[in-house]
Symmetry: C2
Subunit: 245 residues, 2 copies
DNA sequence: GGCGGGCATTGATCTGGATCAACGCCATCC
DNA sequence: GGATGGCGTTGATCCAGATCAATGCCCGCC
């Protein structure tokens, strides 16, 4: 539960001219609102950075000075109660944009699960950039709206679904690799631990483990290793996820 | 749980010229991004409408054709599971803006709790308006970001707080009259039923009722009538809400 | 290869909140 | 004023998932 407090490492403080042009995340990300011809402006305000597993790079309550754009790896966002109870509000992968906030402080913390590479932008500079690219502003609104819909789904899950339905929902969501993509995989890795899954679904580690075991025993899934899942009955699981049965 | 299916009543199909200028909600709402001098454009695309208690005016899954702006009354937004389990994702009051969505369909349903007055805007027309008022787009992004933060708080509540902490959080939030305002009231009405509160907090009616009774017995609150609350120990309740004790 | 530590699994027991079941309190309407 | 029906409250019991407690498994390291 406790994070290493090592600072993220800056790979390239004055990012090379084509850093953004060759970025893996660009096709998936809000950056694609900026035309190739103007990429230099984006590159100029981006700092390419990476974070080791377990590093906290956004701390709830700290002044919200930067935006982040994930180019590889997986991040967990979470909120804590004073006694250590944790709620993971989401996992962020390639192309995901972090740090939207009206308030002057971050509303959540973010930690690297595996090695994470990301671009960091100062909020002040992004604001001036936005004035010149209304299309980017539109993209951000789209992103925020999409996340709002996902958040409402998660409220339904946390407030009203059973442990079994929560796990089924989680697995089918991972199969779609996050929220972005529509194509569904039948075999995929789970970069996060059982503890992370538990804190995301509002359950305990033990309940997550037992429910996985049960779903396997019933033939819905396979668990080749603790961090890998095969979906055997996608339709049944999708039904389970949406509360049928 | 079931809603009346009466349609909302259109009060003024071609809204009077100064409808927006004299609107009670304008100071609290996204509309204030449009200068007084240009209000006619806003008025021209607004339809002033009201809905009787229990009326469903947004239906999850229906084509998302309109935006809504509440000018008085209280609305519940919710999602249902096929067997009728319900999660209320939020209550919307004066100035609240509904209907943000990337998708072509609404992601949630919305019902009037009491008599609700609102403005309705066609999405297509709002889109063209937005092109002329980038400031309005910025306001929408602010609104979406604020709601996202509120949604994350609600996830923490639903995933990790006890019944007692949930009720304390709910009461302190109502005392701040929704999310917008900062000034905290010590006595206020609860327009929603115990069932609504339960479905908002991921509890049952019985647990809500019992917990209210207990908080009163312990001297934290008073319940002059079922739909009215007095906060007696705001500091203690705030602590309880954030998970201390 | 054996040791240590961090996950994950599995079993036994407990409990907060759900469920089931009355009952009370108003309003509204004959 | 008495019947009706929709909340809300209260009590008794139950159970899904939490908690407590081993045990297993894997991987890195000496």
């Amino acid at each position: 539960m406790l994070a290493l407090s090592t600072r993220p490492v800056v790979l390239d403080p004055h990012a090379t001219v084509n850093a953004c042009a060759s970025c893996d995340a660009r096709p998936h990300s809000v950056c694609n609102a900026i035309p190739d011809s103007d990429l230099a402006r984006l590159t100029a305000i981006a700092t390419v950075t990476h974070a080791q597993p377990g590093t906290t790079f956004i701390q709830e309550g700290d002044p919200a000075t930067h935006f982040f754009n994930i180019s590889s790896g997986t991040v967990r966002m979470y909120k804590l109660l004073p006694d250590g109870r944790r709620q993971i509000t989401g996992f962020a992968g390639v192309g995901h944009f972090l740090g939207l906030a009206v308030s002057e402080t971050y509303a959540f913390s973010a930690e690297a699960i595996d090695t994470v590479r990301f671009c960091r932008f100062s909020r002040a500079r992004v604001r001036t950039l936005l004035d010149d690219y209304p299309k980017m502003e539109k993209r951000l609104l789209e992103v925020a709206s999409t996340e709002l819909v996902a958040a409402q789904d998660q409220m339904l899950l946390l407030g009203r679904k059973t442990a079994r339905e929560r796990l089924a929902s989680f697995l089918m969501m991972q199969a779609r690799q996050g929220v972005m993509c529509q194509t569904s995989r039948t075999r995929f890795p789970l970069p996060m631990s059982r503890g992370d899954i538990a804190d995301y679904l509002g359950l305990t580690i033990e309940t997550v483990s037992r429910t996985f075991t049960k779903l396997r025993a019933e033939g819905f899934i396979d668990i080749p290793s603790a961090s890998e899942i095969t979906i055997r009955a996608p339709v049944a699981l999708e039904g389970m996820a949406s509360g049928l049965s």
